[in-house]
């Protein structure tokens, strides 16, 4: 009997010590995990596109749980349905998401502009840009080698006639293309709008005219026509203020070079909408 006790007691004591250490450690070093995190994370689409401004969906979900001031409508690909779910889970007021669509501010296709060199280097806009500003005669325009098409998670971008063409129906508004374009030709526009300036050339009118027949020459006709003061020529290229624009289309009619276009962006932003 005594031998058994001699063997059992030390093991029991060591076991109790181990258990006590573990209990203390788990109490002292408990990591607070927000129980809402999995629910919040489930609401997000998981595209990890970064359009919300956080490092992926996990990052945004974490920020939402930790900071009540983080708005629940930052997920642009998820649009209204995700924002609605998020606001339900977090118990905050639902705010409408402004769905956005990427648009290309260049219309320099084969019919309007020419190549100045024959480029046979790496098939990448970034590389081509380093060679005298690209192959096209307009150094502001679309390089046409498809960096944006390669990065697009939805395969919504195609190069057509040397210019990137974004299918608004497939665009989720993540903005990856806008970040990757070396000429910064792509921007996100609210998908309720239709009027887009399809040129980003900042050269003086005469110079622009030589390199592209549809380039903005900065004539300010649109500025004078606009009833709301929504369009301004900044640095020799027209820019629309979408807060004021009412899509009346007057500027597009007035434009001397037809570089202001009426596109149909609305209604087709399908991703994340209620089915």
């Amino acid at each position: 009997m005594n031998e058994i006790l001699i063997a059992v007691i030390p093991v029991v004591i060591i076991g109790i010590i181990c258990a006590a250490v573990l209990v203390v450690a788990s109490k002292l070093m408990a990591v607070k995990e927000d129980e809402r995190f999995p629910a919040v994370r489930d609401c997000l689409p998981g595209a990890n596109c970064g359009a919300c401004g956080y490092a992926g969906c996990d990052g945004y979900a974490k920020a939402l749980c930790e900071d009540p001031n983080v708005p629940a409508n930052l997920c642009i690909p998820g649009a209204d349905s995700v924002a609605k779910q998020l606001s339900e889970v977090l118990g905050v007021e639902f705010e409408d998401v402004v769905e956005q669509v990427a648009v290309v501010h260049c219309s320099g296709d084969c019919a309007h502009t020419q190549d100045k060199v024959i480029y046979s280097g790496i098939e990448s806009c970034k590389a081509a840009k380093l060679m005298y500003g690209g192959k096209g005669s307009c150094s502001y325009g679309c390089l046409g080698l498809g960096d944006c098409a390669k990065i697009c998670p939805q395969n919504a971008i195609f190069i057509r006639d040397g210019v990137a063409d974004i299918r608004a129906c497939d665009c989720i508004g993540c903005g990856l293309c806008a970040k990757t374009c070396p000429n910064h030709l792509i921007s996100l526009v609210p998908d309720t709008k239709k009027t887009v300036v399809a040129c980003s050339n900042h050269d003086k009118g005469a110079v622009t005219r030589k390199v592209c027949t549809s380039g903005c020459i900065g004539c300010r006709k649109c500025e004078k026509t606009c009833p709301n003061g929504a369009i301004k020529v900044v640095n020799n290229a027209a820019v629309i203020d979408y807060e004021k624009c009412t899509d009346c289309g007057a500027c597009a009619e007035a434009c001397a070079v037809q570089c202001i276009k009426i596109l149909d962006l609305s209604g087709c932003h399908s991703f994340g909408k209620e089915k």
């Binding site: 063997a7 030390p10 093991v11 181990c18 258990a19 573990l22 070093m29 990591v31």
Partner: protein, 198 residues
């Protein structure tokens, strides 16, 4: 210094825990499918082996042996290692979340890994009065585990693309590959002793 190099090299190559002593076969076959999980598992094993030796060696030398309780070795070691791994997991989660995220899945797997228990028990029998040698040996053993895992994950990725007879597909061909790999480690026998003649 030579002593430690001999211990390290023989632990990695000659007495490789997986391929020569056949300990820790379970994770060797289970986690070696992909290279990144194999490396993650092995790093966790190196870490736990050293921690376990650092904890169990003093227990054996200063607690069990002087009181004539050496026969309780196995059960006490299991207890201590399990508690230790849990403790490490809690600490990692609190202070190094990034490391916890990469090692976290594997830590509970190692809790009762026989390679870890084997290293600690062989350490107290092989190096009863040299703590430093025991630590070097446990590091070498972990390194040997790492080597075996990385090698075998390479072998397995080749097996994936090979044309295998229907009856050998899956575990059988993996076991055959493991036996050939361990056969190749037989060639290290005696190499280290001859490299550093005493």
């Amino acid at each position: 210094m030579t002593k430690f190099i001999v211990i390290l090299l023989s632990a990695v190559f000659v007495n490789n825990y997986v391929l020569s002593r056949f300990l820790g076969i379970c994770p060797f076959l289970g986690v070696s499918k992909k290279l990144d999980s194999a490396t993650g598992m092995s790093l966790a094993v190196i870490f736990v082996m050293m921690m376990a030796t650092a904890a169990t060696w003093p227990i054996q030398t200063f607690l069990l042996d002087p009181n004539g309780l050496g026969y309780l070795q196995t059960i006490v070691f299991i207890l201590v290692i399990a508690a230790l791994v849990q403790l490490v997991e809690i600490v990692l989660k609190r202070y190094i979340p990034a490391l916890h995220q990469s090692l976290g899945v594997y830590l509970p797997l190692i809790t009762t890994n026989c390679a870890v228990l084997g290293v600690t028990i062989l350490n107290v029998t092989d190096y009863p009065d040299d703590f430093l040698s025991a630590m070097v040996n446990s590091f070498g053993s972990g390194l040997g585990f790492f080597l075996a895992m990385v090698m075998f994950s390479g072998v397995r990725s080749k097996i994936e693309s090979a044309d295998i007879p229907e009856s050998f597909k899956g575990l059988p061909v993996t076991l055959i590959a493991a036996s050939i790999t361990s056969l190749s480690f037989l060639g290290f026998g005696g190499v280290v002793e001859n490299m550093f003649p005493a």
